[in-house]
């Protein structure tokens, strides 16, 4: 009997370790949720003081927090839209066409992903300053589209590469013209990939601080707001926003997960895999 317990423990050791790591991943989120119900003792206090619902009832009660959120949302949506369209077009070119300069194009798409954000942000700042472009909403947007683009290309390209090419051949065999094949077969097949890419782009844009920091001028996005308030004391409403974002996103993903119950490989894995594969393959 003791032998069996030891064996069971040995078999499940990795499970205990894995759950512990998950706990590590979720600890700060738990703290964020907790602090969203906190009435802080002082402006610079980071510890839990007293339970309150005030922060949830007045989420916009902390300075320009909601303005910053609105700007982040606008930039996120615009950057996502442009990057998704441009990136999808590039992905199609790379996955479905042979042309001279393929490897050069692949490198052009790989390099922004391998470049630290500090370098991306500072180089753009140098460009904008040198060409006297005023910093603000539009420069943030330009920067966000630039760094989201590569991730969109890689995600959609992977989806296209995973598609059975015989599907398109079968459509052609069944009297579909090139446009009809694209419209009826290719696009529906690739759509989940495009959607995943758009979600990724939005989350990258919405959460970006480092690149934005260089190119924002006086425009304050949500991460900029948090950064600024970190110096002066973070209002608890920031934690409300963090909790709400987490809750909404989790619900969305879980709903999507339930809908695609039968397919084991969802966007999260696809994204990770494509990012990883792209980095490894292209760096070679």
């Amino acid at each position: 009997m003791r032998h069996r317990i030891v064996r069971w423990l040995a078999d499940h050791l990795v499970v205990f370790a894995g759950v512990a790591v998950l706990g590590y991943l979720f600890l700060p989120i738990a703290v964020v949720v907790l602090l969203s119900f906190n009435r802080p003792a002082s402006r610079l206090s980071y510890s839990f003081n007293e339970f309150t619902l005030d922060n949830w009832l007045h989420p916009c009660g902390a300075g320009d927090l909601c303005d910053a959120l609105a700007i982040s949302a606008q930039i996120g949506l615009l950057a996502t839209a442009v990057a998704t369209v441009l990136g999808t077009l590039m992905a199609f070119a790379l996955a479905r066409h042979r042309f001279r300069g393929r490897s050069g194009t692949n490198l052009l798409i790989f390099l922004p992903m391998a470049t630290p954000e500090v370098v991306l942000g500072s180089s753009l700042l140098a460009l904008f300053v040198a060409s006297a472009v005023p910093l603000g909403f539009s420069t943030i947007l330009i920067a966000h589209i630039m760094f989201c683009l590569s991730f969109v290309v890689v995600t959609v390209k992977a989806r296209l590469a995973g598609m059975d090419p015989q599907l398109e051949e079968a459509a052609a065999d069944l009297y579909a013209t090139e446009w009809q094949t694209f419209r009826r077969i290719t696009l529906p097949q690739v759509l989940p990939g495009i959607l995943a890419a758009a979600l990724l782009a939005f989350s990258l844009s919405f959460d970006d601080f480092i690149i934005t920091n260089f190119n924002s001028g006086n425009t304050v996005t949500f991460p900029m707001y948090v950064w600024g308030s970190a110096q002066r004391g973070v209002p608890p409403q920031v934690n409300v926003v963090g909790t709400a974002m987490f809750g909404i996103a989790l619900l969305l993903v879980l709903a999507g997960e339930l809908r695609r119950r039968r397919r084991p490989e969802g966007p999260p894995v696809a994204i990770a895999e494509t990012r990883a594969a792209a980095l490894v393959a292209d760096a070679r």
């Binding site: 790591v21 441009l86 500090v118 370098v119 500072s122 490894v280 760096a283």
Partner: protein, 301 residues
């Protein structure tokens, strides 16, 4: 049996039809807008950064800069900031190793032991991304705070002196970096572990390999693509990070990112900032290409 050796299994090579000119034109048209964007807002700034790094440091934003091919900018920047430079790579390396040690068991559990919970667990791994990076990092401030439960527990068991603290130490910065990029480690690891045929591990076990040996000889080598991808995805952003050092550390923990940030935005010393950025980029790219080349040819299938 000799007849057998002559038998080859494989598909016929794909028919080598030359692309029609019209289709090639379409390809270029599809690439044009995105390519233009990257050329304008990635390649051009990089070139600008390169030339800025060689400007005469005597200039300023108001008076303008002179191109004097000042290679000394690099030497000066390195002489002045080599501790931050070294610290960036040291912290990034530590965080990468810590991330691998933490991420591997989690990825392994999801790939091999999770059964029908697999999708839920994957969602949980990416869930931290749903809250702001900054907000989560600030939460670590609460967790590691001087009068927080973690510090008090460590003081109670004597791992930390009565005045010992976690916040504003190298430990806090590395822990924060590790935490922030852990999902980037776990997901590629999971993806490559999940691809491993369970039969291979059974075969190893059938061939006298204990679970530990089977892991070392079969599972680990086959998961190397994930290890390579995960370490890169962690190391690259970690080396350029300055948020963790700023929020969880003190100027004594500052990394190259902090220096670049203040050189561009506070000190307005553009040539030096550009030289530092360029050195960071060059160092990372050298490291990445060297690493992938080594791991790629020797370990990957």
């Amino acid at each position: 049996m000799t007849a057998l050796t002559g038998v080859t299994v494989g598909q016929a090579p794909p028919p080598a039809t030359p692309p029609r000119p019209r289709r090639r034109l379409i390809a270029y048209l599809l690439l044009l807008p995105g390519g233009l964007w990257l050329a304008l807002f990635f390649v051009l700034p990089m070139a600008g950064l390169a030339s800025t790094s060689l400007y005469d440091p005597a200039g300023s934003l108001e008076t303008g800069y002179q191109m004097t091919w000042e290679w000394r900018n690099y030497v000066d920047a390195l002489r002045e900031f080599w501790p931050q430079f070294a610290r960036s790579f040291w912290y990034a390396g530590l965080a990468t190793v810590a991330g691998l040690l933490l991420g591997y068991p989690l990825a392994y559990m999801i790939a091999f032991k999770s059964g029908r919970w697999r999708n839920l667990l994957l969602v949980l791994v990416i869930a931290p991304f749903f809250t702001s990076f900054l907000v989560r990092t600030l939460a670590w401030k609460t967790i590691l705070a001087d009068n927080g439960p973690v510090v008090e527990a460590l003081r109670a068991v004597g791992l930390l002196g009565p005045d010992g603290r976690l916040l504003a130490t190298s430990f806090a910065v590395v822990a924060g970096i590790t935490y922030n990029f852990l999902p980037f480690m776990v997901l590629p690891l999971y993806a490559s572990l999940e691809k491993i045929d369970r039969g291979l591990i059974e075969a190893a076990s059938d061939l006298y390999a204990s679970p530990a040996t089977a892991f070392r000889r079969v599972t680990l080598p086959l998961s190397m693509p994930g290890v390579v991808a995960g370490t890169l995805l962690t190391f690259i952003p970690a080396a350029g990070d300055f948020i963790n050092a700023e929020l969880l550390g003190t100027p004594r923990q500052y990394m190259l990112g902090n220096v670049i940030d203040s050189a561009f935005l506070v000190r307005l010393d553009y040539p030096q900032a550009a030289a530092l950025s360029f050195m960071l980029l060059a160092a990372i790219l050298l490291l990445v290409f060297g690493y992938v080349r080594r791991a790629g040819t020797e370990e990957l299938v």
